[in-house]
Amino acid sequence: MPDALLDKVRAAVGAPNVLTGVELSPYVVEGRTPEAAVFPGSVDEVAAVIGLAAEAARPVTPWGGGTAASVGMPAAPGGFVLGLRRLSRLLEHEPGDLTASAEAGMTVDAFQTALRGRGQWVSLDPADARLATLGGVLATNASGPRRHLYGTARDLLIGLTVVTADGAIVRGGGKVVKNVAGYDLPKLFVGSYGTLGVIVEATVKLRPLPDHERLLCIPFDRLKDAGAAVRALLAGDLIPNAIELLDAAAGAALGAEGPALVVGFDGLREQVDWQCAELTRLAASCGGREGRPLPDDTWPRLETAARAAFPAATAFMAFSVLPSQVADLMEQGAGAARARGLASAWAAHAGVGVVRAALASDVRPKEPAALAGVLTDWRDLARAGGGHGTLEWVPLAVKSQVPVWDDPGAAGRIMERIKAQLDPRNILNPGRFVAGI
């Protein structure tokens, strides 16, 4: 990177907020080192830095807590890491309106703590909430088990401020829960992995904290029976906030014996009690054994239940399929892995059809071919039902054999056009996303 450019960046954000050389080690991803890591302290500073990057046609990698840094296709080399951690203030919390605004670099935990003080929360429960930032969660559409009842970031984000690829500051949505003025920019940015703009502020819908909450674990002899229980649960009157299906490996990691159905309820105590009793009856009629409540600290472990089954999983993948296909995918996927001599663990948000799988860590010298084979088999299984699969983590060598992202079909061309319109110089996370964007 030319010194002249670095100097300008230092001038924009202050020299102590620009890291180079050995200080960059936390920002090395898959062996690639950025040229600098820049930490602006305000929205205007973010805009200034991006403006400079745009002028110099340098790629920019927005960085929140870094928890999803290695997700995606290998980004183009060079350029800046743009860290948002200094933009971490709570901007507004209006309990009577059930809305709050915060800067994108605030961690999810810090945000929730601030809201809890007024008896409210944003109904998002992604993994690594201590590290993950609001902006990062929005950009990756990260979510957790309670998405079953409360939806994901796309359902909770009502307004945002972004810095666009040419350094302009743009606002979309607003501060009110119903708003159809203009295009739905919040939807555009959620899950866009920073390729269309850098999120700097966000406004979300809130909910009152529930009176009570409980997580019930019901072990089964067979996964397929647990799947039947899920189907019965979905067709009934109960209102769970989470429905998790775990195979034996994932279940064991959480302390269950064998495949397990883990269901969460919240609300008034009497509502939670009643629903737990109903669930136990319903599950028993499908072959479920005695249920027991799980400790509260199980909640944050549910999102990563599959990979937690192994000390250091070799690869993990996420699938989006129809709820009715979940149990079959889990069983057939495990079978496909076994056929290649590999062990796997499976866990799903069964009510929304989101399935995660991890491959065991004892794969001999990371044989890319075997890995690639299994992952491709898994993706094919998901696609057969009209779904898709994303590689959330694999060794770099495998990424060149199995695309990280599934094929978007004709819609990919529209995505390319959007990218071309909004980031014509292709400086924001170039090459990282779906369709080679």
């Binding site: 059930l98 359902d155 119903k178 159809v180 203009g182 739905d184 399929v321 009715s324 004709a410 529209i414």
Partner: protein, 491 residues
Amino acid sequence: MATLTASAKRDLRHELEAIVGPGAVLSDPDELLVYESDGLTLFRALADFVLFPTSVEHVAAIVKLANREKLPFVARGAGTGLSGGCLPAEGGIVISLMRMNRVLEVDYDNQIAVVEPGLVNLHLSWKVGPHGYYYAPDPSSQQACTIGGNIANNSGGPHTLKYGVTTNHVLGLEVVMPDGEIVWLGGKTRDANGYDLAGVFVGSEGTFGIATKIVVRILKKPQAVKTVLAVFDEIDRASEAVSAVIGRGLVPAAMEMIDHLTIQAVEDAFGCGYPRDADAALLIELDGLTVGMEPQAERIVAACREAGAREIRTAKNEAERLLLWKGRKSAFGAYGRISPAYMVMDGVIPRTKLPYVLHRVNEIVAAAGLRVGNVFHAGDGNLHPNLLYDPRKPGDEARVVAAGAEIMKVCAEVGGSISGEHGIGLEKSDFMPFIFSAADLAFMHRLKGAFNPTGLCNPGKIFPTKKSCGEAGAVAYRPHPIEEKGLAQRF
């Protein structure tokens, strides 16, 4: 703007008939006249053709032909929209989706349905009702409006407080793009692969293409429902009650406010049991498990009493509940009984600003010498002040237009928005600068360029028509219909 010669029109008519069939093309001026407006009769625009396709292939062929001839085109559902969104502002083709109105598939296990755009919103709930399911987004016009129209405007309704708006219930769309290509955005599974194109399409007011199949979520009907009418002697108390309910940690399924004037109209029309002497009434609905319904209802009643409700009535059965809702849902039409004409606003404000904004609205309306009826989604701050006037009284219309602008400004001032659910369309495009900067509008315009580069798909909507917003591809300035009538001026 396309001007077709008589012979060009004749030739095109033949070609269009070859695509959709002879009974599906209107080009006779007498038959085009009824299509000049949607639910808003103030704005009128004549199409050159109105077509009735019955398949996605028809729609694609029509769009391709429109591209070839450089004719603008716009999709239309039931025409109940309130912002002029389906008007052929620059002539061209209106594509009516009313003959594509089937439920194609219902998958109860996965709680989704695939429907055609011309399906009436309520008919979907009727279809899945016997199985114990319903479609949650329930605009007041749901007896007539279509799913396709709901997609265009990201329609809400009273129950969006708890259940969200249309976009929270759409998983995927088959779309005919503005260039005629048929593409699926999203699908049947929950998470998008790549950008959330379905999410971006919903609410794009027909400027990104035409949806020809829609995958929606259906929900299990709640075990129990409790509907309560809280009566207030002062509308301020009712506004405070709204915040008080939320403050007690409750999110009802719906919270609707009806004011004194509206109660008179509604009682004249249907006799729903609203007390005629109330200054305001709050219709509050709770739904969920039977267990716990009573304590939650008690909390709501307590909150309302604390805020000063003089009376609280509970609907004793489904028939009573439906009657209470009938009043709310027919309120707009019922104004026809107490005023020859009215203009409905659609502003959104933070809930806590409700008392202040209602006061300002009253001030503005009184200063203009008009009356206002308020009926709206108090729970999410989505206001519908209805300004009552007499079109035969000279100057009334101009005064209403001016008052409306001031009300929109107040909404913007308090951190709200200029449209909660009716869309920007034609009617509010010039107010976009109240809430969006030039940079914001330019960004949205570039997004539009990715979908609709030629600008032929529903032109003249959403964006201000003045050139100052920096649109690429200059659109010649055309005075608004109200201006042409000498009834309003640009500020």
